[in-house]
């Protein structure tokens, strides 16, 4: 006797006012005030809904969230090592496939989401992430990128930007820029090399509706999907904690972070600026770049310009102005109009 495994279909969210009310990442966690990764976790959990199992590799979103013996997850959640988030998520997905098939658990296949930091995704966790993408598990791997090993006190990771000061890349006489290497590009590591993956996307906490819809799209897709979410870290990047969204927005507006989807071989862009601001506008707001000299900023600008011109990233094609629902004054349709 075998039962067919069925999956959920999550509907797209039109605008902030339509987002689900229920929270599955609830108040009461020890993350820093203004924590970018905490915000993306809240939005991801909200988009995913109750039929979800989270895997939490060690990192800020493990330690800060679960200190001490308590968590903010209203859905099942399990700790994983920083090394093996992808593998643990694979095991959970496999278990539910066989348990449902054998009639031991009734319901639609739970969303299996591995919520890994940049280190747990593309550094020490790279092997496990890649294998999960390769094996075709019906699951979602999220890399929340705060561009450092933040939980251990801000050390460099493969996604720390060029010139980013961390406690392992301090600027000094011999190394004036602090960090000499340019970062890995997490979605590009996944795209093209994992045949089972049909959907890879980037998102930012600056655009929450876009983020939540990509979570739902990733979960709806059969097979493994990958999301790279930009999540600024006030402590690590050294900016005031009320600026988190502003910083995330500027990252997109300067081209330091690009919002796009790769779907069945094609690129689609969201929230593309009509005109890119110079990276200096972004760098000057954060203490981690305070030591940079003009020649370092130029190198950074050149890197961003080259990345924007890379295959699949047409810069010249004119694009219509984005319909920015968040900024619009929406009085209609809710029954609670004030005008």
């Amino acid at each position: 006797m075998t039962t067919a495994v069925q999956t959920q279909e999550l509907a797209p969210i039109k605008r902030i006012r339509d987002m689900p009310r229920e929270e599955y990442y609830v108040p009461g966690h020890r993350t820093c005030a203004g924590c970018g990764p905490a915000l993306q976790y809240k939005l991801v959990a909200k988009a995913a809904g109750p039929n979800t199992i989270f895997v939490g590799p060690t990192g800020c979103m493990y330690v800060a969230n679960s200190s001490y013996l308590c968590t903010p997850y209203a859905v099942p959640w399990i700790h994983a090592q920083i090394t093996n988030g992808g593998a643990v998520a694979s095991g959970i997905e496999a278990a539910y496939q066989v348990l449902i098939r054998k009639g031991k658990w009734e319901g639609k296949l739970p969303n299996v989401i591995c919520m890994a930091g940049d280190g747990g995704s593309v550094d020490i966790g790279l092997q496990a992430m890649s294998a999960m993408m390769y094996r075709g598990h019906d699951s979602l791997f999220i890399c929340y990128d705060n561009e450092a090993y933040a939980n251990t006190g801000i050390q460099t990771s493969p996604t720390t930007p060029y010139g980013g000061a961390t406690t392992f890349t301090p600027p000094g006489k011999l190394i004036p820029e602090g960090k000499k290497t340019f970062p890995k590009d997490p979605p590009q590591l996944v795209i093209g090399g994992h045949p089972a993956v049909k959907y890879v996307a980037t998102a930012s906490i600056a655009y929450p509706v876009d983020l939540m819809n990509k979570v739902r799209k990733g979960l709806n897709y059969k097979g493994p999907t990958f999301l790279h979410i930009h999540a600024p870290c006030p402590k690590g990047w050294k900016f005031p904690e009320d600026q988190t969204i502003e910083i995330a927005r500027l990252a997109v507006q300067t081209g330091m972070f690009t919002i796009y989807e790769w779907e069945n071989g094609e690129y689609k862009y969201q929230h593309r600026p009509q005109q890119y601001k110079p990276v200096s506008e972004y760098l000057k707001l954060m203490g981690r770049f305070a030591h940079l000299q003009p020649e370092h900023v130029q190198k950074m600008q050149a890197f961003v310009d080259a990345k924007l011109k890379a295959p699949g990233m047409p810069v010249e094609i004119p694009i219509p102005p984005p319909r920015d629902f968040e900024a619009m004054d929406l009085g209609e349709g809710t029954g609670t109009a004030r005008h």
Binding site: L69, C70, W77, H79, G91, V98, L99, W105
Partner: protein, 396 residues
């Protein structure tokens, strides 16, 4: 219908996993255990076993995958050998502390350096303090039986501990022996389905493994130690039930072979116990009053059973097929626990150890005769001449 076959230890382990209806298997190739997975792959591909067969990206991943799967309440199976066992080290404690009854088959293998496919117990011994149940089989039938017994014990609600089911690489894993494969109904009677309250289920959400403060750590560790304490009772029940259903009676912890009237004892675990039996029979014919205490569980260490068995004799040869460099004897690791077990016995036997079978070298009947010679001399002298002998490298 039960049927008798001639199969290797690896094939026996695969048949046991099939009989246990394991649900999630995670593979990765490394000699000599790989044959288990090759066998299971065929069974799954042919629809003879309904399980998810996951190709892990390495041994660390194998243990991680079964950690996740077991946390959902699925019966899991994995395995490895040698450096594969040590590569996965990080995950052993998390699995045991999370009280997940994962089962890992270890066909042991000498650790690098350099590459050596030969059998040695060091790989599994490295991880014996991680909180898993652990024990060796002497031949394929015992390997098959140990898998079922370990699932039954590890999954018991009084226990919930993972298990290392070990066998000597090559000597057991690859040399065929007689195995009676039971009827499925017998297995179903012996081994109930896995039930776990502490599992990941969207219908009953839990947070599994939040960060703790240092002052919360000791209580959790005491709980793990207490779980180990419950194992002997549950294991005895399981082994009695096993005998009733399958007709094969095992001593739960220490098998005593010709020990009651013996002066000398060979203390040993694993494949070379078979050779020891032959040697003991030969020596007995020559009038040497020698017997064997065969260890079936390394963890939990059966302190009372070891003391009871060995206090019957005057001199003990601990056969060490693993190394503990720089340890108290400058030899292996079994000696420490044997001596601890005997410390409070009023009339302690003399104890010495013999490094044998290291690197996968064969252990011969003559080697046991050598051990008997030294034990006899020790009794005459009233003391052992040294704490460790390296068989094949001694001047005499």
């Amino acid at each position: 219908m039960a049927k008798e076959v001639m199969i290797s230890g690896c094939a026996a382990s695969a048949q046991a996993a099939k009989a246990a209806k394991v649900e999630v298997i995670c593979s990765y190739p490394i000699r000599p255990y790989t044959a288990v997975m090759m066998e299971l792959a065929k069974l799954v591909a042919n629809g003879e076993l309904d399980a998810e067969f996951i190709h892990g990206e390495g041994e660390h991943a194998q243990l991680s995958v079964v950690y996740g799967a077991s946390a959902c309440g699925a019966r899991t199976f994995t395995g490895s050998s040698g450096v594969g066992v040590t590569y996965a080290y990080e995950v052993y404690s998390p699995i045991a502390g999370a009280r997940l009854p994962v089962q890992m088959m270890i066909a042991d293998r000498t650790l690098d350096p350099p590459g050596d496919f030969g059998s040695e117990h060091t790989d599994a011994f490295c991880v014996r303090d991680m909180g898993w149940i652990m024990g060796w089989a002497e031949e394929p039938q015992e390997a098959f039986d140990n898998h079922l017994i370990n699932y039954r014990v590890g999954e018991d609600p009084r226990i919930y501990l993972p298990q290392f089911v070990c066998q000597d690489g090559y000597f057991v894993s690859h040399i065929p022996g007689k195995v009676v494969l039971p009827d499925q109904s017998q297995v179903d009677e012996f081994l109930p389905p896995l039930k776990m309250d502490h599992r990941l289920d969207p219908k009953k959400p839990i947070s599994h493994g939040p960060q703790i403060r240092p002052d919360q750590g000791d209580a959790l560790e005491l709980a793990r130690a207490m779980a180990m304490n419950e194992v002997p009772k549950v294991a005895k029940e399981a082994i009695d039930d096993f005998a009733r259903i399958f007709g094969r009676k095992y001593s739960p912890f220490v098998e005593e072979y010709m020990l009651d009237d013996a002066d000398l004892a060979i203390f040993i675990q694993g494949a070379h116990a078979a050779t020891a039996r032959a040697a003991i029979q030969k020596l007995r014919k020559q009038g040497v009053k020698i017997g064997m205490a065969k260890l079936r569980f390394v963890r939990p260490w059966p302190t009372e059973a070891v003391a009871e068995a060995l206090s019957k004799v005057k001199a003990v040869a601990v056969v060490e097929t693993q190394t503990s460099y720089g340890g108290a004897t400058r030899g292996g690791g079994l000696m420490f626990e044997v001596c601890t077990s005997l410390y409070d016995v009023p009339k302690r036997p003399l104890v010495t150890s013999f490094m044998a079978g290291l690197g996968g070298e064969v252990v011969k009947v003559e080697d046991f005769e050598y051990m008997a010679k030294h034990l006899t001399k020790a009794i005459q002298d009233g003391k052992v001449c040294k704490k460790v002998h390296w068989i094949g490298f001694e001047p005499d």
